[in-house]
Structures are given as C-alpha cells and as structure tokens.
Symmetry: C2
Subunit: 233 residues, 2 copies
DNA sequence: TAGTGGTCTAGACCACTGA
DNA sequence: CAGTGGTCTAGACCACTAA
C-alpha cells in the first residue's frame, strides 16, 4: 500500500521545482546521475520523469535531456491576435522562425478543406514559434493562392492576419476551430525539438471571409505543457 | 537508422485497428501474449502500447488491460448544451452517474472563484459521464448555494443548466473558459477507471448571470482520447 | 571523444481482477 | 485461484550531443 518508488522520486523532484530550487528552462542532471542519487535504476527514474512530463512540470528536449517547464501561455484562438502581441503582452519574449514556404500541391484533405481542385497549387508556410528562446508552437498555414498573389515575396515572420488585411484587403469573418490532444509524428517532433511521440495540443482553424469563402487552413501544434486555451463568451 | 522495435510493433497494432480487425471498446490480448507474439519483452511491448495510447488509439483501464478507443466526441464548451443531447446527437449512448453531492466548505481557490467567504458552504456535485457504456468525463460542479435552495433534493442526473433555468430562473449569460492538458491525480483517475497519471483534457468554466454575478464553477476532466473541442465563431 | 539519452533484454515480485 | 497489469532490478549497446 506504500507509494511506488517512482512516485516518491517524482514527488521529490516536484517539491524541488515548486520550491524554486530548480528554475524555469534549466536542465535537470543526467538520468544516470539522478538514478544514482535516488538509488534506483534508469528505468524507474525515467518512469518518474515521464509522470512529471505528463503533469507539465518538465519537458524532454530530444536527446538533450530534461528541462524545467515555463508557465503556460494564455491564448484565445478565437481572436486572431498576432503571436508577438500575445506573448509580449504576458511579459515573455516571442520569436518566430520561418522553416519553409512554398506554392505547390499538397495532401488531398487540405485541398478539400480549402475547396480547391486536387493537385492545384497551395500556399504553405511553416513557422516555428518560441517563447523566451524555447520552441512551443509549430504552425502550418495553408492559403488559397487566389487571394494572395506574390505572398512568397512578403515578410512571413510577421503576423499573417495582419498581412492579409494590410497587403491584400482580406479580412477574416468566421472561423471553425477543432482542438484535441495528439502525439507528434517524428517529423513534427523534430521540428519542435521534442522526442517522437511527444504530447501536443492540436488546433485546426478554418477561416472564411465575409462572403463565406475559405481563405486559410491553419494547423497549430503546441507543446502540451506550454498552453492554456482561454476564452470568454 | 532502422525503426525501433516498439515502433514496428505499434505500427502493426495500429494497422490492425485501422483495418477494423480490432473493433472499438474491445480488449487487446494480455501484455504477455502480445510480447510473446512480437518476440519481445513486456517492457518494449508496453513502450509500443504507450505510444498508441498517446495517439489516442487505445486506452488503459486501470489493472484491467488495454482497450480500443472509440471515436472522439465533438463538443462545444461555449454552448451549454446538455450532455445527453450532445452525445445522442452524435449517435452515441450517454449515461450519467452521480458520484457525490454535498453542501459544505471546500478548497480556498473555489471559494475565491465563486466570490464567497472562506469556510462558507458550497454546493458540489460530482458526476461520471459515459459514452456507449464507457466513462469519458468526470465533472465537478461548484455552485453558489444562495441561488439554489434545496438543490440537493433535485434530480442531479439531468442537465444542471436546464435545472438552473427551469427550477431556479437562473440563466447563464457569460462564461470564462480555461482548457489545458493535465495528468490525472490518483483519486480522479480511479473515478474515471484510468491509471494514475493518465492524460486528460481539463476544462474550467466560470459562469455568470446577466448581473455579472458568479453562479457556478464547473471543472471537467475528459479522457484525452475521447474529445474534440469544436467551435465556430 | 566522453557522456548522454534512446532502446532493449530477461528476468522478478506484488496486488489486484475476473472466472 | 490463475492470470493480469504495475512495478522494479541490473545490466547492455547504440546513435547522437556537446565540449
């Protein structure tokens, strides 16, 4: 009836984190050091770390060790506020890196969602977004190219919503949102610097203009410990 | 560079599920049988199962084995539609069990959220809600008793929103929602029939009436594989 | 290059579930 | 009561990261 060993270990580490002895974004000692310190094997130690990961207290940077989590970002996906404003409004430091952008056909379900013919070209932008220097969000935008000629020449590090409005006079009127927890595929996990199979929160946003025409399909993969979806209605 | 062994195993099981060879809510063979079938140890086999659990394809019923997941429920938390209607509207079978109800003081943060003095009594209802006979949601409602005299004598298996409106003429006007992934504490995990530390999606909803007075604080814990948050704005 | 995390083996004991 | 899942040991090899 006593607590399992991994529970005692994770409780101990959790106490250290909450006491402030271990600060945000700092690295935990190596698994071998920790398993020795707690007089156990790496298997049990990793069980304890996995529990803390599930609770959102630590996260795993692929092959680089375990780190203390930062606090969650409050985010209202029904507002289309620029990422930079959301993050800096909470006293944190935003950063965006454009990983890829292209105008080419893609997967059938995206063509269907955008209401475009199969194999027709689609604007795609993939960006990695960080808070305080640590990646928390992988964003994949799919846009109907009919509305955005020359998009590839624009600065894509800024807010796309703002770009739509100011450069293309396209204003988003309605959205359909779907949000659920997922495990990251190896490719996306790597882009986020996470281990394959890592937990994320997936947000899909289909945006239309006043005429009900589909403008954009946005896919967001947030690190599961980094996000608090917050909305008022 | 070859795939890890657990990946081959989980791919194989995933293919069987998607092909329909394993149907929803049926139980997988025992871990020992599976590990023998795949010529590996239980440790590796459990790694494969954990990956599938993270993907939402299977779930673990505490000490009773692994089961195939049903499809996700589409749910809009900004509408306050009765659970029964949401579920049956998607061709599924809803069921609600009242686990507990009491009028007593509780934790300080709940008193604070409801704007009530510490140690003042609060109406609490805890309900377990199932789809097609399987628990997916643990709901904890905290209500300001000033608005709901005699609530404990009502039928709490029905929609509380409906009860508020029809029996108490209380209508919810605005809500503040917060949603994020959590790991379940042992007590709540057990209530949901899950293993301790199981992944869930937490939804907190603070409801006010037209006068801006706080009526209710609702906490929902959804099995992470059972839910798709869906909203249109 | 030394050390790390990722993966894996071949067992074991215990508490609990279901027949 | 037989079998199950939950926990744990004491190792091992490999690919990769960081110095």
């Amino acid at each position: 009836m006593s607590k399992p060993h991994y529970q005692q270990i994770s409780d101990s580490i959790e106490a250290q984190i909450r006491s402030g002895a271990l600060i945000a974004n700092s690295k935990l000692p190596s698994e071998r050091q920790l398993s020795e310190a707690f007089a156990t094997t790496r298997v049990t130690l990793r069980e304890a770390l996995s529990r803390l990961e599930g609770k959102g207290l630590i996260y795993r940077a692929n092959r680089r060790g375990w780190y203390i989590t930062q606090g969650r970002i409050n985010y209202d996906p029904t507002q289309r506020l620029p990422f930079n404003e959301v993050i800096s409004g909470q006293g944190r430091q935003p950063y965006t890196r454009v990983l890829a952008q292209q105008l080419a056909p893609t997967k059938p379900d995206i063509h269907q969602a955008l209401g475009l013919a199969p194999l027709s070209p689609i604007h795609r932008v993939r960006r990695l977004r960080s808070v305080d220097g640590h990646p928390v969000l992988l964003e994949e935008n799919h846009m109907n190219p009919a509305y955005f000629p020359g998009l590839e020449k624009q600065d894509l590090g800024q807010s796309l919503t703002r770009l739509f409005e100011q450069q293309y006079q396209v204003r988003i009127a309605t959205m359909e949102l779907n949000m659920y927890p997922v495990a990251l595929d190896p490719e996306r996990a790597q882009a986020l610097g996470m281990a394959s199979g890592g937990a994320a929160l997936f947000i899909s946003r289909l945006s239309r203009d006043q005429g009900g025409r589909v403008i954009e399909l946005d896919w967001e993969y947030w690190r599961h410990d980094a996000l608090n979806i917050q909305l008022a209605v």
